[in-house]
Amino acid sequence: MKKIIMILIAALLIPSGLVFAAPYYDVGDQFLAITAGPTTPILYNSEGENVIGPGFGERGKITLGGIVSIGYEVFVTNYLAVGGEIGYQFNFARNGNVLTSVPIHVKMTYLPIQGRFELPISFSIGANYLSFEDRAQITFSATVSIGVNFFIDDHWGIGINAGLSILPELYAGDPGKNGIDLDLPTTISAIYRH
């Protein structure tokens, strides 16, 4: 029992040490990340009804989808980077047609742990272009995510991320068409920093 407690304390102290270590990044440093992976619809709410989870041919549901994005950020402090990200997400509806989402976001990433191993915590928000068959709408969306990066050398690294995206579709004059979608993207990234 004592051994387990000691191991847990050590596990908690190691990141703390890293956090309070000298920062790896300076103001003005940049990184570019290309991210891709599956995204899972968790919840869709419209007109008071909830649809939980993805479906494969089931009524009222869309399938698992995929997302790819490219982002560029610049460090404004030693630990905080700000930039933008543009992505493309797809899911399939029951009739086989594609629901498309194009988020164009402003993004902030906080790296409390940085260096060879990193812990990026990101928040992005911005416009999102939705389209399905002959319908299209521009709305807002936002994503929070947390990940782990590993850098092979000083510049190139890979990362894995999990996040939560919220996408409200709002119509000022026709609230019957409103809906909110929650997705869970789980992605891998290729990162270049400079």
């Binding site: 869709y44 419209s46 007109e47 649809v51 041919g57 089931e58 009524r59 009222g60 549901k61 869309i62 899911n91 509806a93 029951r94 009739n95 086989g96 047609n97 629901l99 416009a127 939705l130 389209s131 399905f132 068959e133 002959d134 319908r135 299209a136 709408q137 521009i138 709305t139 807002f140 996408l167 579709e169 709002l170 119509y171 000022a172 004059g173 026709d174 019957g176 068409k177 409103n178 809906g179 979608d181």
Partner: protein, 431 residues
């Protein structure tokens, strides 16, 4: 930086004003999408206690079996016809199945459109369907020949000019048909240097007509009572047409888009003009229901000898409607003041009395859902009949036959029962 952010946010808010003019949001439409439509199904008519239907491209009889299920027997394999020829079943009536064909034969080397009929009990294949085979050229009615808009060149006019043939909306004894005619038309060109000369310039032309196939004797089928219609018309109900695009080649239909016409006795009459209606009338002779721009209308049509009188009355009593998707409500069948309808993706609804305007929750014009839907989409196709007990038989796209009981079920909210084993219903009781 601040100004740029404010401008960006303002631009995004402006863009939030709806770009999507359809009835559903983008996410709604994606979540509500149905399976792809199954191959075309159509109800052709009855043969005794059987229904004759086109199902997945071939002709079947649907009848009751000893187990209570619906028994499907393939009568004709149409989908495997040789390319270039097409035999088209358009009506079943009495003992016969009526076909249109433009197959090239020795007698008809030009592929003239003509009709014939096959005795249903004798059908085994096309080659066997000769025991009671009458071939009648599809004559263009006399009134069309004398039309002052066109001159049909050549000596042969029977059937030769019909290049497309399609029949929908069958009722026992008659079938409405759209057909397209091509030929040559004398040009309206006038030579300014010789204005009295008759133009010898011919243009290629094509026009679409709407007629009724009737038989004048046991051996003769003819297209009767035709009328010129917009090129992209479709038949949507008994004597009802919808035009989907304008037809700049025909003066009368130059600006007609999404208009509803009622067709009677060789003439068409526009009864509703609108570019944003979503659904179409269903009903029987003289009475229809129409959904347009989210409002429900009833149309009562009375034909007089030289004119018509169509009364369009608005019924939009959705005050207490708990279902907010009334704009997708498709009036399916009207019987007096009652309407059976269908909301896309939601189910089949019954409005007991569309004239009830009482401001209470028991208002009989409120759409009430009929029973619980299965997982598969139930897309009603054809109304078959009633057994006289306020129960209706409908044929659906890919789920067989259902009996609708608008006033049965839990709390009288209606019920739908598929005809299958132990359902207690048979097809024959509705014929």
């Amino acid at each position: 930086m601040k100004k740029a952010l404010i401008i960006l946010i303002a631009a995004l808010l402006i863009l939030l004003a709806s770009c999507n003019d359809s009835l559903q949001g983008v996410l709604q439409a994606a979540h509500n999408a149905t399976e792809e439509d199954k191959p075309n199904s159509a109800y052709l008519g009855t043969n005794g206690s059987s229904l004759i239907i086109i199902r997945e491209g071939d002709v079947y009889s649907a009848s009751d079996s000893s187990t209570g299920e619906v028994k499907y027997t393939k009568l004709l394999d149409i989908t495997n016809q040789a390319s270039g020829s097409r035999d088209f079943p358009f009506m079943a009536y009495g003992e016969h199945l009526y076909m249109a064909t433009n197959t090239v034969t020795e007698a008809y080397p030009d592929g003239t459109f003509r009709f014939y009929r096959i005795r249903i009990s004798d059908i085994q294949s096309f080659k066997d369907a000769n025991s009671d085979n009458q071939i009648t050229p599809a004559d263009i009615p006399d009134s069309y020949k004398s039309s002052n808009r066109v001159t049909i060149s050549g000596e042969k006019i029977s059937g030769d000019n019909i290049v497309e043939f399609n029949a929908t909306n069958n009722t026992p004894g008659k079938t409405q048909v759209l057909y397209k005619v091509e030929g040559e038309r004398r040009s309206d060109y006038v030579d300014p240097e010789n204005p009295s000369a008759v133009s010898d310039h011919y243009d290629d032309w094509k026009n679409r007509h709407y007629g009724v196939i009737e038989w004048t004797s046991s051996t003769s089928l003819n297209i009767k009572n035709h009328a010129l219609v917009p090129t992209n018309s479709i038949i949507i109900s008994d004597g009802v047409l919808k035009s989907t695009t304008d037809d700049p080649e025909i003066e009368e239909f130059k600006d007609d888009v999404n208009d509803i016409y009622i067709w009677r006795n060789g003439a068409i009459h526009k009864v509703y003009t609108g570019t944003t209606y979503y659904n179409f009338p269903m009903g029987s002779d003289g009475s229809y229901a129409l959904l347009a721009n989210g409002e429900l209308y009833s149309i009562d049509y009375t034909y007089r000898s030289e004119d018509y009188d169509a009364t369009l009355a608005r019924h939009s009593s959705f005050t207490f409607d708990p279902y907010k998707r009334e704009a997708n409500y498709v009036p399916f069948f009207r019987s007096g003041n009652s309407i059976i309808g269908y909301i896309s993706e939601n189910g089949i609804y019954w409005r007991e009395d569309i004239t009830d305007t009482s401001a209470t929750s028991s208002n009989k014009s409120i759409p009430r859902m009929l029973g619980v839907r299965e997982d598969n989409d139930i897309i009603p196709l054809s109304f078959i009949g009633t057994n006289g007990n306020t129960e209706f038989l409908i044929m659906t796209q890919n789920n067989g036959f259902y009996v609708l009981q608008p006033t049965a079920g839990e709390n009288g909210r209606g019920k739908m029962t598929r005809i299958q084993e132990d359902s207690g219903y048979t097809i024959s009781e509705f014929l």
